[in-house]
């Protein structure tokens, strides 16, 4: 039976591999194709953890197949049989010890990167702030420095750290752009910061990752990373050509429904801050500091 299961597994692995290779290209595995320093850090950590856990997993599985093959209860099996052997200090120390060492190494990397990711990836250029509001079932982006807003897509300059400030005016969601970096929840009454940065120009798909109701599957958005100049041109163009977002228009956005990509040349003053404070939000006072230069 063990031999057979080994063969089965290999066969399945081979078949699965073939299908996968024909079905999708490697760059579709977005987590392993980072386009910025945050996602790169996370990818490095993922490979580190895969390598470290393999140290235990591979020998365990191999050992199991070996033991089952060797010590099966067959008439002619002359492998040693020691029914009372049930303690060994040395062995126990080894397998309490190895996981402890592995976990120790992994924990060190984890703590280091957990703290690192709360800071901007690079300090060379001044960061851009984008305020993100998850709505039912669409994403609203506001650019406080430019006074423009977009729905379901956002443009960011390449090579500049972007601080996304996340809140929600609907059930919680999660803001995830896999190629730029991992996600963070958007929560009503809270303003959370997520640092991301794109190093390569391109269009990256983002999506809501926390279930929020009927239209949740359609909550995707594009993140367009372009050069600094192009970004400024884009912002100026939106400022001149797009319609303004009125109070009334915002109420329509808040109402449940799916929306196409939209651009707005302006938005009501203090809209983002009001959304956070709407219901007496900002649960702990010092959170106010995140609003930075735009004190309410």
């Amino acid at each position: 039976m063990p031999n057979r299961s080994g063969r089965w597994l290999r066969w399945i692995g081979w078949l699965g591999g073939c299908l996968v290779v024909t079905g999708c290209s490697p760059e579709q595995i977005v987590v392993f194709h980072p386009a910025g320093p945050v996602a790169a850090t996370e990818e490095r950590l993922i490979w580190t953890s895969i390598a470290l856990v393999s140290v235990v997993v591979v020998p365990v599985i191999a050992l199991m197949f070996y033991i089952v093959a060797r010590y099966r209860d067959r008439p002619n099996n002359n492998a040693p049989y020691r029914p009372k052997w049930s303690e060994s200090k040395t062995l126990e120390i080894i397998w309490w010890g190895i996981p402890i060492v592995i976990i120790g190494i992994l924990a060190t990397f984890t703590v280091r990167d957990t703290f690192a990711l709360t800071r901007p990836p690079e300090k060379v250029s001044s960061p851009l702030t984008v305020q993100v509001t998850s709505l039912d079932w669409k994403w609203l982006f506001q650019y406080p420095d430019h006074g423009v807003a977009t729905v379901n897509y956002c443009e960011i300059p390449v090579g500049r750290p972007v601080q996304f400030i996340l809140t929600s005016n609907a059930p919680m969601n999660s803001f995830w752009v896999p190629q730029l970096g991992g996600q963070e929840y958007t929560m009503p009454g809270m303003a959370m910061r997520l640092w991301l940065q794109a190093d390569k120009p391109g269009v990256y798909t983002g999506r809501g990752a926390n279930f929020s109701g009927r239209g949740y599957a359609h909550m995707t958005f594009r993140v367009v990373a372009v050069s600094d100049d192009e970004f400024n041109r884009w912002a100026a163009k939106v400022k001149q050509t797009a319609p303004p977002l009125t109070e009334d228009g915002y109420r329509k956005l808040v109402a449940q429904g799916i929306s196409p990509e939209l651009s707005f040349s302006s938005y009501p003053k203090g809209l983002f801050e009001d959304t956070i404070m709407m219901e007496g939000g900002m649960y702990m006072k010092h959170d106010m500091s995140i609003l930075g230069h735009e004190k309410t």
């Binding site: 079905g23 996370e42 365990v60 703290f115 999506r207």
Partner: protein
């Protein structure tokens, strides 16, 4: 009649979906068939006397087992419907609302109404027999626990045809689960179904904790206990500490929904994140509640079928107790992405990793138990062997998930889905199926057919890998959980299709298990010795099935693997001790009150679901009356006289 009835009748029955009409019809047909059979063969009295009123742990265990298998079927069908919808991009097999309801009920049923009763089935069937006791510490409470679970599950399942299913996910996060975003009775069903069965779970935890610590046979010190009992003890510790948190979280959310409070609302100062926090204070330990007993079963099975003592007994015990305690300090890893800060995330990430150490140790100990043994590959052993690589991979991905910054990329993606299915199916379900095959002859007096059992295993096991390995990949491709539809061109189609094929293979595996049961009832090998596997622990010293008083004489234990040692001594021809004279046995009387009590809970819960408080008041008053009745009922026990014992034992061929 309450005024509400008028308003609700129009929304009372779920309409408009052929699937649901199909279920309506089959529910009615099955109910009629059951009523007909019971009436035709005059079995109503038998049903009431032998099952509904029983306080015998073995029968309660069997009822838990049946319920768990039924729920495994329902949850499995939910899973297959989901996989069918996801098999290909832009499928329109299910619409969003229906899909949301299905994944919600799938998760809730599998965790709370399948895994929990399955482990309780094993608790009830094996623990008293293994420690040499005649029943659990509180048999009457045990019956209440079962019926609370049963009616909680029944209430929850009603949502499918009456009023509409919950659709906010099995985690039921507010504000999505709160009234403004989720009107209608679905979420109320969830809250009350879980609440009612949760009370039963706490009672079971207390019951078995007391049983194991206070009712072991003379000579069975803690360190001579079978490892399954240790795992139950550890699971009970977690139940006692974790379930009250769920009780509070559910109660506060229910108050939000039916009484207009604002604990977790988006508006008026509620804090929805506090629910997330409380849910996982319970939710993470819950994972260990369902997986620790599986570890216990694997330990029993591995030792028995390797014909060898379990390796590293004391470190197995230490690791289980360590898991029980540390599991309480890891809950934030379910929401690293909430942004509670690098300090919080680091602490809980490291705590989560630490729990992998004792868990890994157990795997090595199982391997070393087989090492230099004589391994018989029977069905229970096959499930155990299938578990080891499964759990090694699932555990490894668990460690990967605990790396907080990496988790920002896995969170809520299919990587996570693949991980927890691998540990929950590979750990809990494999463990419970191993336990079911292992103790089946003890419960029913016949073995399940080995050939069909092995077919079932291979279908299930291969289907498992085909289903879940592609999900790791599709998670890395950015697919998030709970999406009911996805566009083509992302590379998700092929892995999803493979995954769906795997799910159907698992379905075939389940059908083969059912076929095995049906076949074996008729043709299964009868177990006349009471010890079909050449077992090691005390339950195998009894006849199969054991008499209702379990042990005519309480055994005296002087080592681990007590029954194995007795057999060894007998083989060596050492003189047996003269058996003590039989004495009258003190037994609890059957009672219908637990059943009635829990029907009352059901009625009260139903009233709360629809805000028909007349029902709630009637139900809760009946609950009060039942409790009052019990307080003044002194006629709760009886003695089995010696003559009757002798008669019974002689009939079983034992003196």
């Amino acid at each position: 009649m309450p005024v509400g009835v008028q308003n609700y009748t129009t929304h009372f029955f779920v309409t408009g979906d052929p699937l649901i009409y199909g279920v309506d019809v089959s529910i009615i047909l099955v109910s009629l068939a059951i009523v007909y059979v019971l009436t035709r063969y005059r079995k109503w009295g038998w049903l009431w006397r032998e099952w509904l009123t029983t306080v015998d742990h073995k029968r309660i265990g069997i009822m838990y087992l049946i319920a768990a298998l039924l729920m495994l079927f329902r949850g499995g069908v939910d899973g297959l419907l989901m996989r069918t919808q996801l098999a290909w991009p832009n499928m329109h097999f299910l619409e969003a609302e229906h899909y949301n309801q299905i994944f919600t009920t799938h998760g809730t049923i599998m965790i709370l109404f399948m895994a929990m009763p399955f482990i309780f089935a094993m608790f009830n069937i094996a623990v008293p027999l293994q420690i040499g006791a005649r029943d659990v510490a509180f048999p009457y409470l045990n019956a209440i626990s079962f019926w609370l679970f049963f009616f909680g599950a029944l209430l929850f399942n009603h949502s499918f045809v009456i009023g509409g299913s919950p659709d906010a996910g099995w985690t039921s996060y507010p504000p999505l689960a709160d009234l403004p975003f989720n009107p209608g009775p679905g979420e109320n069903y969830y809250l009350l179904g879980l609440q009612i069965s949760g009370i039963g779970s706490i009672a079971t935890g207390i019951n078995f904790f007391v049983t194991i610590l206070k009712m072991r046979a003379p000579g069975m010190t803690l360190m001579r206990m079978p490892l399954f009992c240790w795992s139950v003890l550890a699971a009970c510790i977690i139940i006692i500490f974790a379930f009250p948190v769920l009780t509070v979280a559910l109660a506060l959310l229910l108050i939000d929904r039916i009484a207009g409070a604002h604990f977790f609302t988006m508006f008026d100062g509620g804090n929805p994140m506090m629910f997330v926090n409380m849910f996982w204070i319970w939710g993470h330990p819950e994972v260990y509640i369902v997986v620790l007993p599986a570890f216990g079963i694997f330990s029993e099975v591995v030792a028995t079928f390797s014909r060898k003592r379990i390796f590293g007994y004391s470190s197995m015990v230490a690791s289980m107790l360590a898991i029980a305690v540390i599991s309480y300090f890891t809950w934030v890893h379910h929401f690293f992405t909430m942004g509670a800060g690098p300090g919080v995330n680091s602490f809980f990430a490291v705590a989560t990793m630490i729990i992998a150490i004792p868990t890994g140790v157990k795997v090595f100990n199982w391997l070393m138990t087989m090492f230099q043994g004589r391994i018989r590959i029977t069905t229970p052993m096959l499930w155990t062997l299938g578990f080891i690589p499964n759990f090694a991979i699932g555990g490894a991905t668990g460690v990967m998930l605990s790396v907080a910054p990496a988790d920002y990329q896995y969170h809520n993606s299919y990587f996570l889905i693949a991980h927890f299915h691998q540990v929950l199916i590979g750990g809990t379900v494999y463990g419970m199926l191993a336990g079911m095959y292992y103790w089946w002859p003890k419960m029913f007096g016949f073995k399940l057919d080995e050939r069909l059992g092995k077919w079932a295993f291979w279908f299930f096991n291969i289907g498992f890998y085909v289903c879940f390995l592609p999900q790791y990949l599709v998670g890395f491709m950015g697919m998030t959980r709970r999406v009911y539809i996805y566009p083509p061109g992302l590379g998700w189609e092929i892995p999803n299709l493979i995954s769906t094929i795997g799910a159907y293979l698992m379905g075939v595996g389940f059908i083969l298990i059912v076929a095995d049961v049906v076949y074996s009832i008729r043709y299964g090998e009868r177990d006349l010795t009471g010890d079909p596997w050449d077992g090691r622990t005390l339950e195998w010293s009894l006849s199969s099935p054991p008499p209702h008083y379990n042990f005519a004489r309480i055994p005296r234990v002087d080592s681990r693997d007590a029954w194995w040692e007795m057999k060894q001594r007998r083989q060596r021809g050492e003189p047996m001790e003269e058996p003590e004279p039989l004495r009258p046995i003190h037994m609890p009387k059957n009672s219908g009150v637990p059943f009635i009590l829990c029907v009352a809970f059901f009625v009260a819960g139903f009233g709360f679901v629809f805000n028909w408080y007349v029902f709630s008041v009637i139900g809760l008053l009946t609950v009060a009356i039942c409790l009052f009745h019990r307080s003044f009922d002194y006629d709760t026990d009886y003695y089995i006289p010696v003559e009757e014992l002798e008669h019974h034992e002689a009939a079983l061929g034992r003196t």
